[in-house]
Amino acid sequence: MAIRERLSGNEAVAYAIRQINPDVMPAFPITPSTEIPQYVANYIANGKVDTEFIHVESEHSAMSAAIGACAAGARAVTATSSCGMALMWEELYVAASDRLPIVLALVNRALSGPININADHSDSMGARDTGWIQIYAESNQEVYDNFLQAYPIAEHEAVHLPVMICQDGFITSHGVENILLAEDDRVKEFVGEYCPAHYLLNEKEPMALGPYAVSNYYMETKRGQREAMENARQVILEVAERFEKMTGRKYGFFEEYRMEDAEYVIVIIGSAAGTCRAAVDRIREVSGKKAGLLKIRVFRPFPEKELAEALKDKKAVAVLDRSEMFSATGGPLGTEVRSALYGVKSQAEVVNYFYGLGGRDITVEDFEEVYVKLEELAQTRVVKDMYAYIGLREK
């Protein structure tokens, strides 16, 4: 029987870390992820885990120490947000190219400037090309569930890539919700022991990791990383299947809500999906219009084929981004969804919206308005603005 609790997203991640009892946690505090290392430090002080906590002087050092620990043969974890992650930037690439299965609990927060502490995906979206697997959550339950699945994915021999478990700052990280927790022994069995085939502290096998690789080797190394990312697709689904057997909760690359007969669809990542779901229900009840929702869980690797299949026959699709990328053509999710649909020659109209930047609220009414615009778009088939805003003050 699962344990019924009420926890914040940060508490849920810390609880999962306690259950997994990783070997090393180097971390540096930054709002809104500070509580994660803080709670873990409590677990350590109270003898609940024997994780080695490293008090580092910056996030650059936190990720460096995680890389060192993982290369040595330890299971490593860290947590950060926003500018903290920006300070890890160099090491994010090293962790991925060294193929180290580190898990990072990322609490999404807007990047400076202007300085802002609220939910926005600019930190993780900026890191989308680093070679990390990225898994996003709508609720505290999903953050916890995703975190438990992180190591089995990262450490799988066909993958060996670091994983970022993302949740929205404050909205899920500090909001307390009901949650179902798995028992410690079942979690331990599910996650298993970390068994690296090669590690630096093995005196029977002297080895080098991450050496200088000039132009003769760099390209082949990157191709290898792509292979691991492609393998991750299958592994993510297998781990989700095993997770479902343990908890009954089902996960995939994305969640489809009322999509079977949907004509107008919103594609979104993260906590705002809950608000969108309420809008879908209200629209279907009030007008009977066929609204649907597709919530992305796995952004890296990008589930291009599956996504295109799910969207290609819809009349109109709005892709909602919670981070700018200043290509002046749209946001990261919008661009990739549009690209996926181009590949299957879909006739669906696609528009891209920005919402919630720097923590701006989005309401059920806002979502309803997007569905109205999608309906208009499906009729007129004229896209006035490929790249619009929700909740922006304008003259």
Partner: protein
């Protein structure tokens, strides 16, 4: 790490590793097996190399475009060239400098500049 450190240093991850390190090792590529013709499938993940001290095989002297030539007959063994070499490529034994370590000399020419006796000449190429 605390948990594993002892195991890792002695017998590997005892609980989980199948076969000894040597057995697993025998299937692993050594640095000689990885070269500039290796297809991407043969490049190990994380560019791992399963042997120690492979940096010895990496000759930075290959980058050289001009080369110092040691004229032993002009040399008075003042040893001024030795400490200025940024690549420690002028070996000394029994109080005397010896022939250049061309595996690591990058041909910067500082030694030739500092020599008061014209005992080091720079020539074009490797």
């Amino acid at each position: 790490m605390k948990k594993h450190a002892k195991d890792m240093r002695t017998a590997g991850h005892k609980e989980c590793v199948k076969g000894t390190a040597q057995e697993r090792n025998s299937n692993q590529m050594k640095s000689k097996d990885i070269h500039e013709k290796s297809p991407w499938q043969d490049i190990t993940e994380g560019n791992q190399i399963y042997e120690p001290a492979t940096s010895r095989g990496f000759h930075t002297g290959e980058w050289r475009v001009s080369t110092p030539v040691y004229k032993e007959e002009k040399c008075r063994q003042c040893l001024l060239c030795v400490p200025v070499c940024p690549d420690s490529s002028i070996p000394v034994s029994e109080g005397k400098r010896r022939e250049f370590d061309y595996d690591h000399c990058k041909g910067c020419g500082i030694c030739a500049k500092v020599c008061p006796f014209g005992a080091i000449e720079m020539k074009e190429g490797k």
